[in-house]
Amino acid sequence: MSADALKELKSALPDGIYRAVVDLMPEKVSDSKAKEIARKMLEEYERMKVEAGESVGLVAAESIGEPGTQMTLDTFHFAGVSEMNVTMGLPRIIEILDGRKTLATPMMEIRLKKPYSDGQDIKKVALAIRETKLKDIASQFSINVAESKVEAKLDVDKMRELGITDAVLEKALKVAAKGLIVDIKGEELVLRLKSKDSGVSDVFKLKERLKEAFVKGVKGVSQILVVKKNNEYVVLTFGSNLKKVFQFQFVDETRTTTNDIFEVEDVLGIEAARQVVIDEVYKVIETQGLNVDIRHLMLVADVMCADGKVKGITRYGVVRDKASILARASFETPIKHIINASLYGEADNLTSVVENVMLNQPVPVGTGITKLATKPVGKSE
C-alpha cells in the first residue's frame, strides 16, 4: 500500500473510518489501486459531510422528540426482582435531559478485577458492597421511657455472616447518634441516651433513627444482585455511590459504571458525564426498539456539558444561559426575562432563530447564513 495515499487519508478522515480503511484494504494491492481506493474514500467522505449552516440542533431535537411520542411510560422489573424497578422509557429520558440531581432509580454496574470476576469470594464481595442498616441485623425494637433507652434483639447469626463484630456495631451506632451509650450482651442490644432529661418523643425519635443507622457496607446501596455476564461475575446495585465503591481493591474502576450523571461528573469529570448522558439515553432508545443516530445524542450531551458543568435542558439550565433575551422570553417566564433585560438596558443582537421569526426576518441558519445579495447594476434595456 502506498504510504502517501494512506498519509493523505489519515489527515483527512476521522480516526474510526481511517482504521476501517486500513483494516479492509486488500493485502496485495498495487499502488495505483491503493490510490484509487484513497481517492474514492475521500470522495465518499466529502459527499457525506454536513454542509455549513445545517441546523443540526433542531434536527437532533426532532430526532429525539419525535420517537418520544412512541415510547412507553413503563418501568421495568430489573432482572425479575420486584424491589428493583428501573425507570425506563420516556420518564428516564426526561430525567436525564432535565438534569435531575436525584434519580428515581440510581444504579451501578460494578465490574470486578480478577480473580474476583471469576467468582472468587463473590459472596464476601457482595456483602462488602451492600449497605447494612441496624434494622437489617436487629429486630424487636422497644423503648423504655422510664430509663430512656432503646432495646433490640440482635440477629447474631446474621451478624456473623455479614462479618459485623460487636465493636464494629458499637462504633457505627456511636457515629449515627451522638451521646449514646451502647451496651451489647450477646443478643441483647441496649442503647441509652447520655442526657437524663429526655422525653418520650426523644426516645421514640431515637429508636426510629437508629433503625436506619448505617452499620456496614456502601452507603446508599440498598440492594445488590450478582449476575454472570459473558463469563464474568458482575455486581449490579440499586443505589449508587461511585466514590465509595472505587475504594475497594477488588473493584475494577475502569469498567464500573453508574447511571447517576452528577456522580460521574463529580468523580470522573465532565467528559465522563457526557459519555454517561449519551450511553443512558441510547440505552433507553435501544430498549424501546427505536432507531436514533448517536450523533444526535452526542450533540444534546455536548450542549448539556458545554460549560464544564452538567446542565439540564430546562429554563434553569441550558435555556437560561442563552445569549438572546427574546429567545429566553419565548420559552418560559417571559416577564422575568424582559424586566431583567430592561434593568440592565440589554440589547438582543438577533443572532438566533426565534428573535428573527418574531421580527419577520430571515433566520441565520441554513441558507440564511450566507451574507450575499445581488445588486443589480444599471438598467435593463
Binding site: P14, G16, L24, K33, I37, R39, Y45, R47, M48, E51, A52, E54, S55, V56, G57, V59, A60, A61, E62, G65, E66, T72, L73, D74, H77, G80, S82, L90, P91, L97, L225, D293, I294, H296, L299, V303, A306, T314, R320, K322, A323, S324, L326, A327, S330, P334, I335, N340, S342, L343, Y344, E346, A347, D348, L350, T351, V357, L359, Q361, I369
Partner: protein, 864 residues
Amino acid sequence: MPEFEEQYVYKKVASVVFGFLSPKMIKKMAAAKIVTPELYDKEGYPVDGGLMDVRLGVIDPGLRCKTCGSKLKECTGHFGYISLARPVLHISLISVILTLLRYTCRECSRITLPTARIEQYGERLKRLGNDKGPEVMRKKLKDLIIASRIAGKCPHCKAKQKKITLEKPTTFFEDEKRISPIEIRSRLEKIQDSDSELFGLNPSAVRPEWMVLTVLPIPPVTMRPSITLETGERSEDDLTHKLGDIVRINQRLFENINAGAPEIIVEDLWDLLQYHITTFFDNDVAQLPPARHRSGQPLKTLTERIKSKEGRIRHNLAGKRTNFSARTVISPDPLLELNEVGVPEIMAMKLTVPERITEWNIGYLKDFVKRGPKAYPGANYVVRPDGKKKKLTEETIEASVEELQPGYIVERHLMDGDIAIFNRQPSLHRMSMMCHKVRVLPCKTLRLNPAVCFPYNADFDGDEMNLHIPQTEEARAEAELLMLVDTQMISPRYGLSVIGCIQDAISGNYLLTRSSFSMSREKAIDLLASIGVTDVSKLSKKDVVSGKEVFSILLPNDFSFSGRSKSREEPEVIIRDGRLVSGVMDKNNLGEGSGLLLRNLHKKYGREFALGVLGRMFKLGVAFLMKRGFTTALSDTDLPHGAKLQIQNVFDNAEKDVAGLIVQYNSGQLDVLPGRTLRETLEQKILEVLNKARDETGKIVAMNVESYSHTIVMAISGARGTPLNLAQMAGCVGQQALRNRRIEVGYSGRTLSCFREGDLSPTARGFIKSSFKSGLRPAEFFFQSIVGRDALMDTALRTPKSGYLYRRLANALQDLKVDYDATVRDSGNRIVQFRYGEDGIDVSKSEGGLLNVKRVVGEAVEKE
C-alpha cells in the same frame, strides 16, 4: 415601456434594546394628557382628554387621528399619559426596590459597604453580572453586605440603619413604621450611579427612582380596541376598563388632596390607586384579589397579554398565520407521483401564484386575466407596478386586460407543476413539511400517494392536512431544492429511507416475487403496461415468466444488492446485475425505515431515480393485487374440528399444570427461585405455563389455517398484522398482562366479584381462553378492558409529556448550526462541537449512520 424600478429592501433590524421609560420620556412621547375617565360624549364621539381621545389613534372607520392625521389602519396609535396624584410602586420591580432599600443607607443612600470594599469587589461583581446575569450578581452583593455589615450602621454617614421588610405585595415597613412610596422614591433618587451599577442596574438605562411611578403611560387606543355588539352597544377592552379605574381614582385622589381631606381618606385612595395600577400591570399577583369583570371573570391585563401559550410572544410573535394556505381532508391516490399532491379545483381557484409580466409572457398571462376568477385556470388579482392591487371581477376584467403591461403582476390560479408545501400536524420532524408539486384534480379532497403517509404519519380516517403556496421565486427555489419529497427520502434520524411501500404494495410485491409464482408473458407485459412500464426488453422470451423477472424490470441493469427478507423460505435476497435472483420482496426490503435496498438505490442512482423506482414498485404491487384479487375474510380464521380439539387439549393440560402449581404453592412444596419470594416464583411458573400454552395454540393455528390465506400473506410479508394477531383471532387471545404481571388489581384478594377470594387460577387472573372470533366471556371481556384502558391512559399521559420534552429540546438546540469551519456553534458563537458528531458526517447522507468502507473499497477494487 414604463419606468419601473425593482424595490429592494436593505433595511434590517440589527438589534432590539430593552430599557425603561423615564418620566420625562413618557411625557415627551405622549400625544395627550388624560384627565377624565369618561370615554364618549352623548353623540358617541370620543371625549377630549378621555381614554379614547382621538389623539391616541383611531379605531372607528372614518375618523382621523388628530396627532398624525392618518386614518384607521394607517395610524399605529400614540401613547398618552396621566400624572399620578401620588407616586405608586411598579409591581414587577418590587423585589429590586426591596434590595435597593435594604442595602443602601436610609440617610445617604450609599451602599452599606465601606468604600474600600466597594473598590475591592466592584470589578468582580460586574464581571459576575456579565457572566451569569444580574440576578446572581445581586445575590452575591447581598451576601457581601450581610457578611460585612457593621452593627447596623452606615459606614459612610454613620447613620443607624433600620430593618426594612416588605409586606407583600406592595407595602414596605421600616421597623414597624410604614414607608410611603414618596419616601421610597426620595431615597432611590439619592442612590449614586456607581452604586446602582453594583446592584446590576445600568445607569444609562435606568435610574432607581423610575421604579416608583409618578406618571403612567396610557397605551394607544389601537392596542385596546372596543368592539361594537349587535345591539349597538360598545364593549370596551379589558385594558380600557382598568385604565378607567386608574384615571377615576387618580382624579378622586387629586380632588381629596386639594380639598384637604383627612389623611386616612387620602391614604385609602392612594392604596386603591396602587391596587389598580398593580393589577393594570399584572392581574395575577399572589396576594391580591384579581380585578374582575362584572361577570366575575378576571381581567386580562398587560402581563397576561404577553405570557403563556396564548400570549403575544408564543401566539403571535413566535407563531404566525399565513395567507395562501389551505386545509382539508386527505385521501389516497396511488396514481399520483410520490412528490405530487392532488389539489381540488376549488382550492386551485382560490390559491394564487404571482407572475410578473414581461415582454415574452404577456400573451400567456393575458389569457389568464381574460378568463378571470371564475374560469379555471384564470387569475384573481392584478398588481400594478406601483403596488396597487386590483381584484378581478366580471366587470373589471376587460379594463384590466387592456391595462396589462410588462411590470404588472398577475396572480394566477394554481396549476399543475406549481410548488406547494404540504404539512400535517403535529409537525414533529422536518418530514412533516415537505414540498410537493401541484396536480389539480376534480373532487374536494387533497390527495397524496399513500407511500408518503409514513413521514407525515397520516392515515385517511378523516385526517386533514395543510397546503402552503410560496409566493416568491426565492421561496419556491428553496422549497424545491431543500424540501421536495425527493430530498427528504433519507431520514436524518437514522439514515434510512422514510418512504417505502406500505400495505397492499407490500403484499402485492411479496406475492409476485415468490419463487413458486409465474405468469404468462402476455399477462406480465399487460401488468407492466398498466403501471406505465413499456420497455420490457429485459423480460425473457419464454412464454411463462417468473414473478421475480417481472419485478426485476424495475431495477437498473447494473444494480447489485444482497440483504435479508422476513420470509423463512427465502431469507436471502440477492440482486445481481439488476435481476432478483433469490429472495422475496417484503417489508424488510421495500418498507420504510428498514433495510438498505432503497438506501442503496438512492445512493447509487440519486434521489429522483430512487423515488421513481419506488413509485413504480408501489404501483406494480397494487396493480398486481388488482389483477390477482386480494381480500381478507372471516374464513381465514377457520379451523378444522381436529384443531379445535387440539387447542382444547392444550388448555386442559395447562390448566391442570397450573392447578398443580397452586397446590404445591399452598402446601409449601414449591422450590423458591433465587432472589424471589414464594409468591413471585408461583407467578413466574404460571406465566411460563400459560405462555407455553398460548404459543402452542399459535402453532396449531399456524399449521391448520390455509397456508396462503390472505391474512397470513399480510402477516408474513409485513404488510399488516402479525401471526400472533391471527392466533388471537382463531385460537386464543392469551394472558392479559398489566405492568408485566397477571392482573391482580380489583377487589381484595380477587380480580372480579365473580371469583372466589384467593383464586389464583388462570381464568381468575386475566387469561383469555376464547378467541376474538368465538367471542369473549364476560370476565374475559373485563380483563381485556382493563388492559385496554391502561394502554389508553398510557398514551394520554405520554403525549403531553413528550410534547413538552420536545419543546424544551427544540428551544434549547434550535440555534445550533454548523459553521463554515465545520464546528458546531450556538447563537452566542460558542463552540459546542469541534466537528459535528465527531466525524462530520451528516446522518441523512450516510447509510444508516455509517460510511460503508467495505462497499467503497470493494467497488474501487472491482473497478479495472
